[in-house]
Amino acid sequence: MGEVQFENVTKRFGDVVAVDDLTLTIDDREFLVLLGPSGCGKSTALRMIAGLDEPSSGTISLDGEIVNGIDPRDRDVAMVFQSYALYPHMTVFKNIEAPLLGRPMSIDGGPERKLDRAERAERVGEAAATLGLEPFLDRKPGALSGGQRQRVALARAIVRRPRVFLMDEPLSNLDAKLRTQTRLELVDLWRRLQTTFVYVTHDQVEAMTMATRIAIIVDGRLQQVGRPQDVYQRPANLFVARFIGSPPMNTVDAQVVPSEGGPAAAVGTTTIPLGTATPLTAGKRIVLGVRPEHLHIDPNGPGPGQLEAVVRAVELIGHEQHVVCDVDGTLLMVRESSDAPAVDPGATVGIAPDPAHLHLFDVDSGERLG
């Protein structure tokens, strides 16, 4: 019903390539998050699904039908804009009603026709009830808070029951507390509506907590698409590895060295066993990635297979502590539980990586090795 397909879609604005050869399938009813830093083309991709911008090359399909060149009003998609785009001079009721005016709709599979006033009012009431907006129907957007305005934008989107919902950074204009609450409400709404959500954000926490799948886009190119846990546990390249996860993954330069117990890498003078089966040529330069929770501090100084580090700072976060260590000029962050033995800044310790959770990346391409 709500499947979206990008096939080799490229979008150029003059000399700037906003979207570069994007091929992606968004399945019906999934909650797909387009994640990436600001200006990476994710909003442009969203707009192309809506029809507000057209691809320079490639095709976009909805439910198997190519929609290039089709007017936005005929695509049966709805969009919630970053600043909500509510009509300031219309009441909440009229804002929600707007998509129903002048557009023939098919009622329950019957022939398409325009809704009359009673039908429109019923639909608006339904949408308003879903989002708790009944007390505000007569107000104008100027008299509403940011959170309420966002709900009006959502109501306007759902009133037509489109097959795809597009959301462009909907939480970015809300304060932190409201953001957490609204995140839950949005996921809840998605479950109730059983419709495809395509959601754009630069916040990886939102992506990780809300998505069924995440598509990471950088400089217009798709880096990786997969379930949150897959993207977290097996990032496809360095960028994804560093982008996903908070605090971010630690990365150090290393070199593959021969070793009897299997492949190992030398980080400075320390040799660390790599628990991977992938064949690696000795001497190859790589980037080693390991998440803060997969590092362990040995306060008794560097032992075999441990990196020698000087503690720079210890940040107590209540239930855990973040220890920032200096390894030969590179800063590494280690997450330890608060119960772990305390270390002091300035102390020399050893850091032991968990060999089962090492990530290897090619030093030139950034691509994952193995």
């Binding site: 150029r12 057209e54 060149g69 023939p104």
Partner: protein
């Protein structure tokens, strides 16, 4: 898919102008044409009116300048560009130009000064200040004809209260223009006041307060803070008043009919007088002269305005 709609309502989803979509080039090209046609259609009424009553007359004026109509019946005689140079260089036009310029010199500086004076006086917090503001802006309600009637009653030599005052004596060619100018000056007070007051109100109070703290007295504040910030508004007002001066007609027709001895015949008045076939050629040339004058003045003002704005920043 795409519903069949009247071309005027279909708004194709296009925001970029380059590259083809591999899948549907034909659809996009035809809807872009539709959109362009729609755009032109919306412009048709305005373009037709402006074309017929602004640009077509320009062509006709040039035609009249080059071809003198036959006084009786149809037909015309080619008189050529020499006609244009003859009239533009002739006494008639030069007189009209000079009188128009004099009128401008009488009305524009006075108008600016009065406007600024009144606005400065009325831009303060006093009880009842709104009443004074209302009084000062009241001449906005007068038309040129009404203002002319009002001043006819004041400066007409026979029945005007001040008809015998030497400076504005309408019966003497040396002073008549001043009497006529009085009408415009008075009438302009309302508009200039409203505009300068708006300009003053746009200056943030904090600037005046900062100047006070810096130790500026009232006059210094005026000179160093207020007037420079008013400069764009005053430039705008200058343009407006100059345009009014070029357009002056009713006061002349009401008060002096162009006399005595043609001393109040501005360019517009002369043009108005020359509509019959015998003199329309001259009228057309003078009209073109007026056009040229407006053009040059506007150009000058735009360049000065641009330079001023950049320096001001």
């Amino acid at each position: 898919m795409s519903t069949a709609e009247a071309p005027a309502v279909a708004a194709p989803a296009l925001t970029d102008a380059d590259a083809d979509s591999a899948a549907a080039p034909r659809r996009r090209r035809s809807s872009r044409v539709k959109e362009a046609l729609f755009g032109y259609a919306l412009l048709v009424p305005a373009v037709v009116i402006l074309g017929v009553f602004a640009y077509y007359p320009l062509y006709r004026l040039v035609h009249f300048a080059l071809y003198r109509p036959n006084r009786f019946g149809r037909g015309e005689v080619y008189v050529g560009p020499s006609n244009i140079t003859r009239v533009l260089g002739g006494d008639e036009f030069k007189e009209g130009l000079w009188i128009t310029v004099k009128f401008l010199l009488y009305t524009v500086p006075t108008g600016l000064v009065l406007g600024v004076l009144l606005a400065l006086a009325a831009h303060r917090h006093l009880r009842g200040i709104k009443i004074f503001q209302g009084i000062f802006s009241s001449t906005v309600a007068t038309s040129v004809a009404v203002a002319s009637v009002v001043f006819f009653g004041l400066v007409n030599p026979k029945i005007g209260k001040f008809g015998q005052v030497g400076l504005i004596d309408l019966s003497k060619s040396s002073s008549a223009l001043r009497g006529v100018a009085l009408t415009s000056i008075w009438q302009n007070i309302g508009l200039t006041f409203v505009i300068v007051l708006a300009g003053l109100q746009a200056i943030p109070d904090q600037l005046r307060e900062a100047a006070q703290l810096d130790g500026f007295g009232a006059f210094r504040r005026l000179y160093k803070v207020t007037l420079p910030l008013l400069a764009p508004t005053l430039m705008f007002l200058l343009v407006v008043l100059m345009i009014f001066a070029f357009q002056a007609f009713a006061p002349i027709e009401f008060l002096t009919q162009g006399g005595p001895a043609g001393s109040t015949e501005t360019l517009v008045f002369k043009i108005f007088r020359r509509q019959d076939p015998g003199s329309i050629s001259e009228g057309a040339v003078m009209a073109l002269g007026l056009f040229g004058l407006t053009f040059v003045v506007t150009l000058l003002q735009l360049t000065i305005l641009n330079r001023r704005v950049h320096y001001g920043d």
